[in-house]
């Protein structure tokens, strides 16, 4: 069997974010799209299962995010009978994480979604247009030892938007 292709990030110039916010290129993380197989994670939410983040990205579609072996373990446990399918989208999608207390305010510059805690709490997953790029936005707050959770969003978009999308998000962070 041929070796997996070497991953090359679409973000060629990951200039650090300005101010107090942090931008991280997480495109290398394995991403697998699952369609038609039932996973007990509702549309619009995400759930951590071990090392894998299971995102309910469409009414009958889920995205698995995590290390390759952990994602493979989750996929092997799915019932893929009937019309269910899995597709490895690691190389076709980028993933950027925006972290910081002002992350929501920064996103408001480029996104029409209501980012309040009432509408998009930690664990929410929404499809949205961010800086004119259609992407999945997952709120996945970062908890470090003993500290309060820091607001964090993951963006999944088509790979071809890579550097533009990074730069657009970076511009949003300039004020904070």
């Amino acid at each position: 069997m041929a070796d997996a292709p070497v991953f090359q990030s679409p973000i060629t110039n990951p200039t650090p974010a300005k101010g107090s916010l942090t931008l991280t290129d997480e495109s290398e993380l394995t991403k697998v799209s699952v369609r038609g197989a039932h996973i007990a994670v509702s549309f619009g939410t995400c759930e951590q299962r071990g090392d894998v983040l299971v995102v309910g990205s469409r009414p009958d579609e889920w995205t698995l995010l995590g290390p390759a072996d952990a994602v493979a373990a989750v996929v092997s446990g799915l019932d893929l009978s009937g019309f269910a399918s899995t597709t490895d989208i690691t190389h076709s999608r980028l993933m950027i994480r925006l972290t910081g207390d002002d992350a929501a305010r920064a996103m408001e510059k480029a996104c029409g979604i209501d980012l309040s805690d009432a509408m998009t709490p930690n664990g929410a997953a929404v499809g949205a247009s961010v800086a004119k790029v259609t992407c999945d936005v997952v709120r996945d707050d970062v908890v470090s030892d003993g500290r309060e959770a820091v607001r964090s969003y993951r963006f999944l978009a088509d790979r071809s938007f890579g550097q533009y999308f990074w730069d657009a998000l970076r511009d949003c962070t300039a004020e904070f």
């Binding site: 549309f43 619009g44 939410t45 009414p59 209501d114 997953a125 499809g127 247009s129």
Partner: protein, 101 residues
Amino acid sequence: MLLVPCPNCGPRSSQDLTYGGESHSRPDPKTATPEEWRTYLYLRDNPSGWLVETWYCSSGCRRWFKLERHTLTGELRDPILPGSKTGVASDEATNIQGGTK
């Protein structure tokens, strides 16, 4: 800008959706006359009042749905997914953005 209530995603900016136009039932191809096809393809009711429309949630759930829009006031109501028997305009349509489903 309109705030369009997607049955799956909740209220969204109309810029995040694609307008599909007036909703018409398709005539039976086996029995339809040329005039019925012409009416179906090209003629629109364009009423002053409530109108059933189709929309596509292109940035969110990527599903087509129908709703009613008042062409005078811009009010929107009763979003419904294909195959559903009733509108879901109440709690489910307005409160399920993100994790509150």
